[in-house]
């Protein structure tokens, strides 16, 4: 039998679909008592990994366990792990209540549990409507109710905010937090860090089927240096002066400023004064997780782009095969590329209020 630890362990997990390497040698663990975000861009292998964890997809090699056991050895698995999966199926002609009762009997919990959960996810009034008539967000709520039927110790969610309204998102966020505070385990995937940033404590970031970062979110946040955004009279002159002084981490910003990493406001100010370049403004740009996430996962579709920023925190970083440390140099100007465009839905941080909407 399983050990009841609530721990999820993924070890050297690999999955190939024919020629497609969906997941490559992935390893991480998820501990109970916290919400772990499972992040990566589209096609990174999140869904495939979660489905392997749930015994729905057979790994090519490696292992994924919950409570020390593969899914088919959990006994009554729905009592250990509940799952909300992408495009989960409901029989379109079966009512929500009947759907929950079917699986309540499979798990061996009383029928009243179905009604309790319909209430919990706010579907009581639609309980006798057919699932095929449900909206995307309603189906997502029904999927969550199904996942919770067996009162599981571990909750695995694949893009659960998909289709939820802001109220639903805020509710889900606090629900997951309180679920984890009861000492249970939550693993939630997303392709947007901002979407889950306020919910998660731990994060596993993957890209192109490989682990890019795995550890506490706080550590990732701290690892990010701040940049200074400088608005000079002559950007070219300033870049030249900075480079001559040994500051090479320079990038242009879309609004024509120069972003300088690894230098203080004072250093830049002194240098500009010495070179006789007028500076109209300087602004310290705080660590921006979304940007870090983007750069950790960039290169999935265009190879050769090194992750942005600092060396990641020691211990937390799992260097993927083929990973190259950031090249010292001048990626921005030489590449004429600047910052990659922000991911869809991304907004400049305004006091940390983007994400799953509403107030936590």
């Amino acid at each position: 039998m399983h050990d009841g630890s609530g721990r999820i362990a993924v070890q050297n997990l690999t999955k190939r679909f024919g020629a497609v390497a969906a997941v490559q040698n992935l390893s991480f663990t998820v501990e109970p008592g916290s919400v772990t975000g499972f992040l990566g861009p589209n096609g990174a292998g999140k869904t495939t990994t979660l489905r392997m964890l749930l015994g729905l997809v057979t790994p090519t090699s490696g292992a994924a366990t919950i409570n020390g056991r593969p899914h088919h050895q959990l006994g009554n698995p729905a009592r250990v792990v509940g799952a909300v999966l992408e495009n989960e199926g409901f029989h379109p002609k079966r009512t929500a209540r009947n759907h929950l009762r079917v699986y309540a009997s499979a798990i061996g919990v009383p029928d009243r549990r179905a009604d309790e959960l319909l209430g919990l996810v706010g579907l009581s009034s639609a309980a006798d409507r057919k699932a095929g008539e449900y909206s995307l967000g309603m189906r997502q709520r029904l999927a969550l109710a199904t996942a919770l039927l067996g009162d599981p110790q571990v909750l695995v969610l694949d893009e659960p905010a998909n289709g939820l309204d802001p109220e639903g998102i805020a509710w889900l966020r606090s629900f997951l937090r309180s679920f984890a505070q009861q000492g249970r385990t939550v693993l939630v995937s997303s392709h947007l860090l901002s979407e889950v940033e306020q919910t998660i404590d731990q994060v596993v970031i993957i890209s192109a089927g490989m682990t890019r970062y795995y550890g506490p979110l706080e550590q990732l946040r701290q690892s990010q240096t701040s940049r200074v955004l400088v608005q000079p009279a002559d950007a070219g002159e300033l870049v030249k002066a900075l480079q001559e002084a040994g500051f090479t981490q320079l990038e242009p910003t879309p609004d024509g400023r120069v972003a300088v990493s690894g230098a203080t406001v004072k250093e830049i100010g002194d240098l500009a004064a010495k070179a006789g370049i007028a500076v109209y403004g300087m602004q310290e740009d705080r660590a921006d997780l979304e940007r870090l996430f983007f750069q950790l996962t960039a290169g999935q579709f265009s190879t050769g782009q090194a992750p942005y920023g600092q060396q990641p925190p020691p211990g937390a970083w799992a260097p993927p095969p083929g990973y190259q440390p950031p090249q010292p140099g001048h990626p921005g100007y030489q590449g004429q590329q600047g910052y990659p465009p922000p991911p869809q839905g991304y907004q400049q941080p305004q006091g940390q209020q983007q994400g799953w909407g509403g107030q936590a």
């Binding site: 729905l56 199926g89 009997s105």
Partner: protein, 296 residues
Amino acid sequence: MMGNLVKAESRKIITTKSWWILLIPSVAFALAFALFWGAITNDLNDYLGSSDARELAGLLGISLGELPVGLLALAHGVNIGTIFPIIFGVFALAGEYSKKTITTTFLTAPNRGSALTAKMLTYIGFGAIYGLVIVGAASLGTVLTVDERGLPTAGQWLGVLGAGILATVLATLFGIGVGAVWNSVVGSVITLTIWMLIVENVLVFVSFGWLDITWLGGVLPNGTLNGIVGAIGAEAFGAAGLSVPGELDEDLQWLLQYTAGAPGAFAWWVSAAIFLAWTMVFFLAGWAANQRRDIT
């Protein structure tokens, strides 16, 4: 545990309509075929009672004009009805794949084997309900059309009832197996219907007419499934099973079996055993495919 899963499978069936919607054509076709064959089997008895049939009478050793020809009507009614429990069976697993409910089904069962076992047990029960209803409809068609002298004895009728239920149960499991292998409701249903109603009959006819092969209908899926009930009628005329009178001409025997809806059939239990083998082939192949299949 298995009790819970069986309960869940039963709920799945009764919370959607397909199980009783498929009962409608089961009843309609069983009734219609029994009515049709009942009407013409009276003529058969009349023919057998006529002087033209003296020779045949000697061969069969049964008093003329008193043959339980109602068994033929029953068999044809039941045989056409079995196509619907097959379709019903296809929905069991292939239907879950097409609606994607298979994900939750596998997530709430200890393992895939137990999910499939629960389905099998549940569908045996529902297959039996189909059998009961289909034999009932065929019996109705038979008593409505067949003259009293041609009706089967109570013992024969109970035999048909038992054989009919066995046939529909196996038919349901056969459907589950094919759906589990192929994983497509539409594909399985269309192919099976065409095979069972047309292709196999053509094969059996062609091989008999051109190649003089009499046994083909006794080994193929449709033939063996029909043989379970059909052989009872054919047996009553001495045209199937172990009690074949030596004198009965092979071609005539085949023709009588054909009339009973089971050309080439052996004894009913041999037919049942061979059809069970077909069912197992598909069921085990489906089982194996489901242990490995990725649900993405």
